[in-house]
């Protein structure tokens, strides 16, 4: 069914031209260095139309809550963007305390560099900014994105005005830096100036260790009982000890969103790869219906 090769090439060239044209209409200035930048995960690169991220753009990672793996995934992209000796700037916004306290005193959650080192970040090229208030944070983010000496900026910022967002995008375009923004999952569907928007959610497919039998599951809330039984329905061969994340491409400039992939962590190499034994429909709807029966009986 495929068209002959010359026709296909012509079609691809046309699509590329159109994409550029549309981008121009959208006000996107193509960077001088338009080689794609890897996201650090091969499976994610494949989802992107350019085969990777572009310098001078913003990337959003939405996650439903803390501990979901989005920071690590963003860090993998930062590692790639900082490859040729550029600096990584981390904006530690969580420390919004008064200026009187020294920076090393207690904060809510802070970026923890030893873990970043284990993820392959060169600590000598890592700079951590701790702005004291929101205005300073925005200013610092803007300055970092504008600086050509910075490869990537890693920041957790939930509250972002649309105008400020556009300002950041222009700053990234000016400096040719990659802006990695970690944001809350509820911001999905809000206006964004990010080129790429990922949604990262963890996957559970494991049978809980202490839960054995029905007595315990009845006392637990209905939701977790469902999860419990659903997990139990997965064959033992599918249970895997490593961490699994489901990453969905929500939005992507110049491409279609909506595709998703399940990643698993290779702990020794500190890299993510596509989970091979992942079947797209391994959690059928029917199983969920069947699960509720024991609860009703109890």
């Amino acid at each position: 069914m495929n068209p002959p090769a010359p026709v296909r090439e012509a079609q691809q060239a046309l699509v590329a031209t159109l994409r550029r044209e549309v981008g121009r209409l959208e006000g996107v200035r193509p960077p001088e260095d338009d080689r794609p930048l890897s996201t650090g995960v091969e499976a994610l690169d494949r989802l992107l139309p350019a085969g990777g991220l572009r310098r001078g753009t913003l990337v959003e990672y939405l996650s439903p809550g803390s501990g979901c793996g989005a920071p690590a995934l963003a860090l993998a992209a930062a590692r790639e963007a900082c490859r040729p000796g550029r600096a990584l700037v981390v904006l530690d916004c969580s420390s919004r305390r008064s200026r009187e306290r020294p920076a090393t005193e207690s904060r809510a959650t802070g970026f923890y560099p030893p873990a970043a080192a284990a993820w392959g970040i060169d600590l000598s090229r890592l700079l951590i900014l701790r702005p004291a208030n929101e205005a300073d944070a925005l200013w610092a983010l803007d300055q970092a994105l504008r600086c050509p000496g910075v490869g990537a900026v890693w920041a957790a910022c939930d509250r972002l005005d649309v105008r400020d967002f556009r300002r950041l995008q222009l700053a990234a375009e000016t400096g040719g830096t990659l802006g990695l923004l970690l944001r809350e999952g509820r911001l999905r569907g809000q206006p964004t100036w990010a080129d790429v928007q990922w949604r990262v959610s963890p996957r559970c497919r494991e049978r809980p260790l202490w839960r054995s039998g029905r007595a315990d599951s009845t006392s637990s809330p209905r939701g977790s009982a469902l999860a419990d039984h659903r997990c139990a329905a997965v064959p033992a061969s599918l249970t895997h000890p490593t961490w699994r994340l489901r990453v969905e491409l929500l939005r992507c400039r110049g491409g279609a969103g909506g595709q998703s992939v399940v990643l698993e962590l290779d702990e020794t190499a500190a890299t993510w790869r596509e989970a091979t034994d992942h079947a797209p429909h391994s959690l059928p709807v029917a199983a969920e219906l069947a699960d509720s029966a024991p609860v009703r009986r109890a």
Binding site: S66, G69, A103, T104, T109, P114, L127, P202, P208, W243
Partner: protein
């Protein structure tokens, strides 16, 4: 190299023949007039230092005429300055004071350096330090140079002892152990590091330590340098203080020391006095811009760049306003300096300008580059975006951020070998700031100053206990070994456990109840009692039923559960 006039009498007028005994006396608050210096001829007649003047005068006058004069430290210093000026023909860097640590880099001179920071004992400086690195060749060898120095000083009427050594401490020691005349210390004469002095059986007086310490040590039976070195360092520190260890280190070249030139280095400062005090901010900005331009020009003329800028605005009623700017790398660009100053001015304006148009009208503006370093010479690049350009842009960014956010908000992490997660790294500031004094910290061209929130005591302890191990064991481990976000301090958790020493089954956090589905651990982390409050924790990595991963620990002392991080 170290030149030591054999005694202070020579600083006095030289009109008397050398065989006439000369005494100098000064008033001691408790013992009255004492002899503080005397000539060899006086020594020969039995006069000793610290002898009451009446007794000494009687002894000295026994054999004929003698000269007795009050000691005049100012005249001494003036004579030493004149001698230093004479010695400038031998070395570009002559002085009698030394600086520990950092000024070397800022003056652009490494290594062989400096001396006694105004003698803490005795009656004022009695030696000159000359930086003769690489200069011996010009005089036909270092020994010939030393001879020439002695000849020159004796022409001026001084009797000098000269020693050339790798370190200032060793040179000083060399002049003390020599019998008379001059000598090039044979174990330290070669200008290589391998010829640093060895702990020969030298008397302890060769270290520049106060006589009280010397007395105390001799009471303990320690009179030789090698005896002192055999003692454990830590106990020396606690008994005799940091100074002794510093002197030992300086003797062997392990601690940096520089000669402070007797001519003060050029000042990079500019001042603007207003006839009518200015109230408007625009005027002040205009003046500051002009001053930045002047300072930058003065710096650029000498190929120096500012590392620290201080600005003082004298506001008539409200007292002066100080601005301080630290730079990541030396710069003499007027635009950049002004940019940084403007940001500081804006911050200050937010604090005080907003309320009442400044604290008061500004009558005088002073700008000074307190700390400078040589500019790096860089050839211009044909194509933009080279590596140097990237470095330069990054430096500008760090300067700007430090200026607006504050120096302790721009940090670089450095891993340590401490097993306690909170202490597994240290923070270094991006730029130099006032908190890190000039003399205390080494200034490395690339990195800023060390910044650590711990008390010096615990840092010292941990330095002794753990820093000897190679650092960064964590980077070898799995990336999931430590979480990317750490709670500091750890959050207390409500948990439900079944197994006594096992992980929790459920815990409440963030308004939800999390069920633990998988866990890894425990990893026990304990710290020694000598590190302050002892810490004993069992860490667990847990995965909840929804797939989120947390790092929990149970305090073994209290038995309570805490959330310490998120992956």
């Amino acid at each position: 190299m170290h030149l030591s006039p054999s005694n202070k009498v020579h600083f006095a007028p030289l009109m008397h023949p050398t065989h006439t005994p000369i005494l100098l006396h000064a008033r001691d608050p408790r013992r009255g007039e004492l002899v503080v210096a005397c000539s060899d001829a006086a020594l020969a007649r039995g006069v000793r230092l610290n002898m009451p003047l009446a007794e000494a005068a009687a002894l000295a006058q026994r054999g004929g005429a003698c000269v007795i004069q009050p000691h005049d430290p100012a005249a001494d210093l003036a004579a030493l300055t004149r001698l230093a000026e004479h010695c400038e023909r031998f070395s570009p860097l002559v002085g009698w004071q030394t600086v520990e640590g950092s000024k070397a880099a800022t003056n652009g001179r490494g290594g062989q350096g400096s001396g006694v920071g105004g003698r803490e004992w005795g009656v004022g400086p009695d030696c000159l330090f000359l930086d003769v690195r690489g200069i011996g060749v010009l005089f036909g060898g270092e020994e010939a140079l030393a001879r020439e120095v002695v000849a020159e000083t004796s022409r001026l009427g001084y009797e000098a002892r000269v020693a050339i050594a790798e370190t200032i401490g060793a040179a000083w020691a060399g002049t003390r152990v020599q019998g008379s005349g001059f000598g090039v210390q044979e174990n330290a004469e070669a200008p290589t590091d391998s010829r640093l002095p060895t702990p020969a059986p030298l008397p302890l007086a060769v270290l520049r330590i106060p006589p009280e310490t010397l007395d105390l040590l001799s009471q303990l039976g320690v009179t030789q340098l090698d005896q002192l070195l055999a003692l454990p360092r830590e106990s020396l520190r606690s008994r005799f203080g940091e100074r002794l260890l510093l002197r030992i280190d300086q003797f062997f070249g392990r601690a940096q020391e520089t000669i402070a030139a007797h001519r003060p280095p050029p000042q990079f400062a500019a001042e603007w006095v207003l006839e009518y005090p200015a109230e408007r901010r625009e005027v002040v900005e205009q003046i500051l811009e002009q001053l930045a331009l002047r300072v930058a020009r003065a710096l650029a003329d000498r190929r120096e760049g500012a590392v620290q800028l201080h600005c003082r605005l004298d506001c008539a009623p409200g007292g002066p306003l100080f601005l301080e700017v630290g730079l990541f790398r030396p710069s003499a660009e007027p635009g950049h300096l002004w940019d940084l100053l403007r940001m500081q001015l804006e911050q200050a304006a937010l604090c005080c300008w907003g309320r009442a148009a400044l604290r008061g009208p500004v009558g005088r503006v002073t700008l000074e580059a307190r700390l400078t370093a040589p500019l790096e010479n860089r050839q211009g690049e044909l194509f933009a975006g080279g590596e140097h350009e990237i470095e330069r842009q990054l430096a500008l960014f760090i300067d700007r951020c430090s200026s607006r956010l504050g120096a302790d908000a721009v940090l670089r992490p450095e891993l340590t070998a401490d097993p306690l997660p909170e202490r597994a790294m240290k923070w270094k500031q991006g730029v130099r700031s006032r908190g890190s004094g000039v003399g205390r910290q080494k200034w490395k061209a690339a990195l800023g100053t060390e910044y650590s929130g711990r008390s010096t005591k615990s840092r010292r302890r941990s330095a002794a206990s753990s820093d000897s191990r190679p650092p960064t064991p964590d980077s070898q481990r799995s990336p999931l070994h430590r979480p990317l976000a750490l709670y500091d301090p750890p959050l207390s958790l409500h948990t439900l456990s079944v197994v006594p020493d096992g992980p929790p089954v459920k815990f409440d956090f963030g308004g939800e109840r999390h069920t633990v589905s998988r866990h890894w651990g425990p990893e026990r982390i304990e710290t020694g009692w000598w590190r302050g409050r002892s810490v004993r924790r069992d860490y667990w990595r847990v995965e909840t039923a929804s797939g989120r991963r947390f790092w929990l620990f149970r305090s073994l002392q209290e038995g309570t559960w805490h959330l310490h991080g998120e992956f």
